[in-house]
Subunit: 279 residues, 4 copies
Amino acid sequence: MPSATFLVAAPDQPGLVARLSGFFYQLALNITESSNHSEESRFFMRLVVDLGKETTTRRSIEESFGALCKELSGEWSVGYEDVRARVAIMVTKDPACLYDLVLRQRNGELPCEIPVIISNHAALEPVAESFRIPFFSLPVTTDTKPVQERHVLELLKRLHIDLVVLARYMQVLSDDFLRLAPPVINIHHGFLPAFQGAKPYHQAYARGVKMIGATAHYATKDLDQGPIIEQDVARVGHHMTPDELVRVGRDVERVVLARAVRAHLERRVLVEGRRTVLL
Amino acid sequence: MPSATFLVAAPDQPGLVARLSGFFYQLALNITESSNHSEESRFFMRLVVDLGKETTTRRSIEESFGALCKELSGEWSVGYEDVRARVAIMVTKDPACLYDLVLRQRNGELPCEIPVIISNHAALEPVAESFRIPFFSLPVTTDTKPVQERHVLELLKRLHIDLVVLARYMQVLSDDFLRLAPPVINIHHGFLPAFQGAKPYHQAYARGVKMIGATAHYATKDLDQGPIIEQDVARVGHHMTPDELVRVGRDVERVVLARAVRAHLERRVLVEGRRTVLL
Amino acid sequence: MPSATFLVAAPDQPGLVARLSGFFYQLALNITESSNHSEESRFFMRLVVDLGKETTTRRSIEESFGALCKELSGEWSVGYEDVRARVAIMVTKDPACLYDLVLRQRNGELPCEIPVIISNHAALEPVAESFRIPFFSLPVTTDTKPVQERHVLELLKRLHIDLVVLARYMQVLSDDFLRLAPPVINIHHGFLPAFQGAKPYHQAYARGVKMIGATAHYATKDLDQGPIIEQDVARVGHHMTPDELVRVGRDVERVVLARAVRAHLERRVLVEGRRTVLL
Amino acid sequence: MPSATFLVAAPDQPGLVARLSGFFYQLALNITESSNHSEESRFFMRLVVDLGKETTTRRSIEESFGALCKELSGEWSVGYEDVRARVAIMVTKDPACLYDLVLRQRNGELPCEIPVIISNHAALEPVAESFRIPFFSLPVTTDTKPVQERHVLELLKRLHIDLVVLARYMQVLSDDFLRLAPPVINIHHGFLPAFQGAKPYHQAYARGVKMIGATAHYATKDLDQGPIIEQDVARVGHHMTPDELVRVGRDVERVVLARAVRAHLERRVLVEGRRTVLL
């Protein structure tokens, strides 16, 4: 008995919890998890519903739920437990986040398929191979960027990719790419909004901070400005060189990225302007 | 427009979210926050409702909500934003947690009154006085314990106390006391279940642990075994003497105790056997 | 048998540990703690020495140690366990950090005297009074700032103040003041370098960060740019309003400030450019 | 110019820092890092020395340093940067810690060789193979345990193993084995001393704790009682099933194990009774 997860964002108005949960009650579908949040006249809700014996078709549930949401002037989306998201991982040379994501997917922590790894470099092909995941090496220069991005987009489309994860992909994606691609999650190796841009650990060292961090966010056309999904930090000291900050930071990065990807896959993340709501 | 917070625990059954939220929808009362949790055939829900212009009386809402919960074989309770809980703080000689709780109540972090401080020792009377809170010094020996506890109980009753907080009260309360008293929250200066009993920091030192912690729990007749509400830890090192562990631990204790008291006062805590559910 | 704590910063060169520790060995003074650090041709060392029966005078030790450091082209300072630092606390209206510092001083966590509390506002006079600490209310406007700062400086001088702690003093100190005053430690309620300037919690809310922090640093003429002594963070979520961030942040602020003041008083902090070394 | 790291433990006595650092000064060897600690009449010191052009042989330094330590009634050991420790990893079926250790070794975080992976099960052979590390599958039953352990010991000896890391090796090692083997570091998936023995996450769930942890310790004949090297925790909640505690705990385990192994390899860990000193 698979479950379905519904996400709703709507203008706040009386009776939303009752009407949304009542919808499933009338269909005799049990709500196994629900949570909601209101802020400044906006309402957000996540409902996990046991589909039971599926006496009603998914399409028919979607149609009537869509009609209800339209009535409430709300947006909604749904995902099904038995339809696993297809995730493309993009990398350059650093294997830490790549290994981390694949191992978590393999042991069941990340409910998704990983049908492809795309890189602008050949370095990580053996890692992809050791897990028998198709690997595409698509090098890029300033000149070839538009062409390369078009290739990547075609690949994403052909493989029905639902989510792109930049696991230390050392290239800035163009606005055009981001407009046409599925959602893109990036890991920034700094505690945003501090240390935007390049070499955040060297910036952190120079400033003498006592903690460093990492930030997972949706990529948007404004570099390092996208809605933050997850952050964490680690304590550092004056005795650590920038290289040691890199080492300590690597542990934070991969945990933060994995948590963000997991939250997205479990349909817990709603974007509201520059912020995210995690339900 | 004050709000009311309802807590429900019931056997899990289809339609609970819809029926409980529908109850308030029919009364035209807006749910501003809600969360729920199911585990092993048990269901828990917290609902915060805006009482609006209170066209329906509180008593009448309670009666019909009680009837619904009875139908669902559930237990429930309600608290009102404008009826502040009355909290008694019990102490011995250590002022840290006492100051902390009173200051948080004064700056609005803890939604309660503190009409009394009770101690088995006179040491902290000046602290109580500086905040103009009535202070009762009720010394206790093994022989006088039954009598002293009866005095404390009378005091709690006379002052309509809803919650007792043991802010480093260095006495074990008897089963009889705990049966007759309102809920009692205790702070244990160890990361339970490790280091139960006396001198947890000395135990921690001897064992060479690298982190120490504190645990806030409901007091039950089994010492240090009550349902845990909140815990936290701090990193320590080989260079710290037991006295320094005490100092570091004190910071953890007061934060953990304050969070637990706040969660209780906001009606977020449900006890289920030896565990708590925090909604 | 009191101890003395020596701090040395010098150009790195062979034999520094041996020569500095050998100095005390020849005087038959036992080193009870020592630590050192080198980076980019700079060397830093902290030595705690048991003065024993003080057969040699402190002045004579200082003279010969000074001669050694001169030979090494180094700077040095010394503090004696039985000569407690005199700390002035400056506040405005928020009592949290003030209570925290005074209580820690009273229970022995902060090895210092607090002979005065200075404010630009009368609000916290009762707190000072409850601890019987002299309180000076010196209001300030843009026009009277030079005069007020001169009064504060005179007060600091007359009371032989060694350290000024800004415990949420809501005024920017002038360059002139900082040049003439003893060292000044400030608590910034943001995780610097993110969220410099005013209303950091509102900035943090708008940016949707998942953790907030606080930073204790030496005040310098560049606002919020001084060398960082200590930082820490707390996890926050989308459901927290800016007011709730303030509440959570307050707990971080006072712990961070207390740790920084303690490190300074124990003579563990060396400033090197924009960074600090903590030994 | 490789470095050597010396570790000393001796009865506390005047002049130890001066004499130990003076030793290297006289040999014109520069100390690049040093730290020491005293407790209850015991003294511990770590010295990292730049061997420069090695005009004196290592053997000759060791002989005279040994003579000095003998004079001080102390124990000592030395390791050379260019002689990398040889580490055997023992596993059963869980790949998380294994991948983690190998990847850290590969990217330079762990200064060691990993010449062998030993298991009581064949499951992880492909992982070993993907990294081209020899893998030995040595199954064990209650009856064959003495024989199997003898095989493991032979293997450790033949391969000149300096350290054994139990990366979720699900077997208890016998006293005999531990007496004859090089040092053994184990990861326990509980916050010792809480939750000793089997199924710590299930114990943690039943007790309703709010944080779970992991502990890396030297294996001794008393199960889960060996000297603790490193611990850490993660926050959990009532909504997490034991399986989810396992998932969260896995992240803590591998970080804690890696930190402990790194500290051991950098010769920072001294065992003193049931405690460790980390310099």
